[in-house]
């Protein structure tokens, strides 16, 4: 691996990247003051960085190949730890109890600030699980997911502003409106091929955002809507800390419900149809599955969850404007699903925690957040398309000898 030939090749690749990134990385001009800064150190970083990255990649590939070969000769599949824990009911229950109790006491141990971050992470878990139905299970690349999130958030903001409706009243309304929006959009677009669908949903997401930005009478334009009520607690006024804690528990419950429902959906006739649809649409139709209807259900269920989280988002921040609903938001949620493993519930949960919490805690790194998200999408597709935790293969236990 460290042969002369390899080293030479790696060095050449590094040089190529130094050349490639030269104008953007090295030169910085100030057109007003008319100053040119030559940042030669950046060229060195790029060169060295690429050099070692390539070795790392080659090393990992090599190791992976060897492992795979070993696995094939041993003729058995090694399971990731998580899968073996899930397979063992005793271990699984222990893990669940530990996780639940940690989740329960979290706001008592950590500061309000931390709790707030956790709420955000939980929101992305639920968003990820929602998008996972659409992208992961049904294989529909929805790049306008954020539009449904916006529908939920604006439903609450507007209904609260105009009619004084409370959080709990709007939560189902917001979800249903988003689901309805999904149904209405999905009806014409879901017969499109996968890649066109991606672009149409992207376009639709942008249209919604632009309309929110420009239709001042309806949405109050770029300045947004403020003073949205926080969730009510049986008519009792909560302190700021109290209401954050309250929201935290709401999110925990919502996440558990979502996991439960998504899990059940996945293990049902409908879930199987989604996965089959992702695998081969034509075979699926030939087996009697109504493609249109099955897709539409996935699409609007995903939208429903986005709407629910949208309502919570509005209640959490008490202020929303169109800037919160850009394409990048959809891209973040997509990264969560892709990183975690499309179709894998545990994977998506982990993906959300990694992608949302890491940048929060590694402040130095948070600037590079979107750069890393983009990189992750590419790297996962190239090196590990099944995601961190690939979906467990469902087996069925029953009496086999009738």
């Amino acid at each position: 691996m460290f042969s002369y030939k390899e080293i030479k090749k790696t060095a050449l690749i590094s040089l190529w990247f130094v050349f490639l990134t030269f104008p953007i990385m090295v030169i910085k001009v100030d057109p007003i003051e008319r100053i040119v800064r030559w940042r030669w150190d950046n060229a060195i970083y790029v060169g060295v960085g690429i050099f070692f990255t390539r070795f790392l990649i080659e090393y990992l590939k090599d190791r992976n190949n060897k492992r795979q070969a070993a696995k094939r000769s041993a003729n058995k599949e090694s399971q990731p730890i998580i899968h073996s824990i899930i397979a063992n009911p005793k271990q699984r229950n222990i893990v669940i109890v530990v996780l639940l109790s940690t989740a329960f006491i979290f706001p008592f141990i950590f500061s309000t600030y931390q709790t707030n971050i956790m709420i955000t992470a939980l929101m992305y878990v639920v968003l990820g699980l929602g998008l996972n139905i659409v992208v992961g299970m049904a294989g529909l690349l929805d790049l306008g997911f954020v539009a449904f999130y916006a529908v939920g958030a604006y439903s609450y903001a507007l209904l609260n502003y105009h009619f004084g409706l409370g959080f709990w009243a709007v939560l189902p309304i917001g979800g249903c409106l988003a689901g309805l929006a999904g149904l209405i959009l999905g009806f014409p677009v879901l017969r499109l091929r996968g890649d066109y669908l991606a672009i149409v949903t992207l376009g639709f997401g942008e249209i919604i955002r632009l309309v929110l930005e420009n239709w001042n009478d309806f949405s109050m334009g770029p300045s947004g809507i403020s003073n949205i009520d926080r969730p009510g607690f049986f008519g009792i006024e909560l302190s700021l800390n109290g209401s954050i804690m309250y929201l935290y528990y709401i999110m925990i419950v919502l996440m558990i419900i979502t996991i439960f429902i998504v899990n059940r959906l996945q293990d049902s006739r409908l879930g199987r149809a989604w996965i089959a649809l992702r695998e081969d649409e034509i075979a699926c139709q030939a087996m009697g599955i109504d493609k249109r209807k099955t897709k539409l259900v996935a699409f609007s269920l995903g939208a429903f969850w986005a709407g629910i989280v949208g309502v919570i988002f509005a209640a959490k921040t008490t202020f929303i404007n169109p800037a919160s609903f850009t394409f990048l938001e959809s891209a973040i949620i997509l990264s969560i699903v892709v990183l975690g493993g499309m179709g894998s519930i545990i994977g998506v949960i982990m993906g959300a925690f990694i992608l949302i919490l890491l940048p929060e805690y590694l402040r130095a790194f948070s600037e590079y957040r979107m750069l890393v998200f983009g990189g992750i999408l590419v790297a996962m597709m190239v090196f590990r398309p099944q995601g961190l935790i690939s979906n467990i293969r469902r087996t069925y236990t029953f009496n086999k000898d009738q």
Binding site: L265, R272, Q285, A286, M287, I289, T395
Partner: protein, 263 residues
């Protein structure tokens, strides 16, 4: 004479300038094995695609008559899933399994159009849903046994050997409880032993009264299995009859010039 289950008349299919099917007539009666043969590119697969709703034919009618005095249905213009629901199920010449699903799940998908559980049932696992799910699993498993794949039920479909994949496609199609089973070159790529197994399997399926329409290149298989044979070339029917008639038909011999059909 009984009314045929499937009666196709004047079926025509154009792709741009190419006429892949030219006023084709064909019929299959209950309990029959009918073969559709012809050189490569004759339009056999296109015929299947038109009948199953995957292509919309340019002209012609396809009448499906369920046995037992039910009303006839014209399949023209129906979506593929509706055609399957009405009682036609097929396999594909280029195997199209759900490769990342298990063997058992592949067959379970075939039960989709005969079962009903939806969002509500999925989330709340009502009694009816659980019962239905149990039936799906049991029936799928017994179909796997029938095609000899039960021991591989939990494998990924993509890990199966070629011959096994073809048999899995048959099991999946049977799971839809078809009135008529359409098999597109089921023996393609199989070795002689696998072909023999396949022959036994088709016989077994047919002996239960299942009507089968079979596209196949292996003449030995076709001649020994079929009750009747349709021969087509360049999208046209050039002959039809019992195996002995087809073997002696000069037109057929001309279309198969150089190929051995006496095998």
């Amino acid at each position: 004479m009984t009314t045929p289950i499937l009666k196709v008349t004047g079926l025509t299919m154009d792709f741009g300038g190419i006429r892949a099917l030219n006023r084709l007539d064909l019929d299959v009666c209950a309990g029959e094995i009918v073969a559709l043969i012809g050189p490569n590119g004759a339009g056999k697969t296109t015929f299947f695609n038109c009948v199953t709703g995957i292509y919309q034919p340019t002209g012609g009618d396809m009448i499906l008559t369920p046995p037992g005095g039910h009303k006839s249905i014209n399949l023209k213009g129906l979506k593929p899933n509706t055609v399957t629901e009405k009682g036609l199920a097929r396999t594909f010449q280029n195997i199209r399994l759900f490769s990342k699903m298990t063997v058992l799940e592949n067959v379970m998908i075939g039960r989709h159009c005969r079962t009903h559980a939806f969002i509500f049932g999925a989330i709340f696992r009502t009694k009816a849903t659980r019962k239905e799910e149990k039936e799906i699993i049991e029936m799928s498993y017994s179909l796997l046994k029938e095609v000899g794949l039960a021991h591989l039920a939990d494998e990924f479909a993509e890990n199966l050997a070629y011959g096994a994949q073809r048999r899995l496609e048959i099991a999946r199609a049977l799971a839809t409880e078809p009135l008529l089973l359409l098999l597109d070159e089921p023996a393609a790529g199989m070795n002689p032993q696998e072909t023999l197994q396949l022959k036994e399997l088709i016989k077994k399926i047919a002996s239960a009264g299942q009507a089968i329409l079979l596209i196949e290149h292996d003449m030995k298989l076709v001649m020994s299995l079929s009750d009747r044979i349709f021969v087509m070339d360049y999208g046209k029917k050039i002959a039809e009859g019992v195996p002995a008639e087809i073997r002696a038909n000069p037109e057929v011999i001309k279309a198969y010039l150089g190929e051995d059909i006496d095998a």
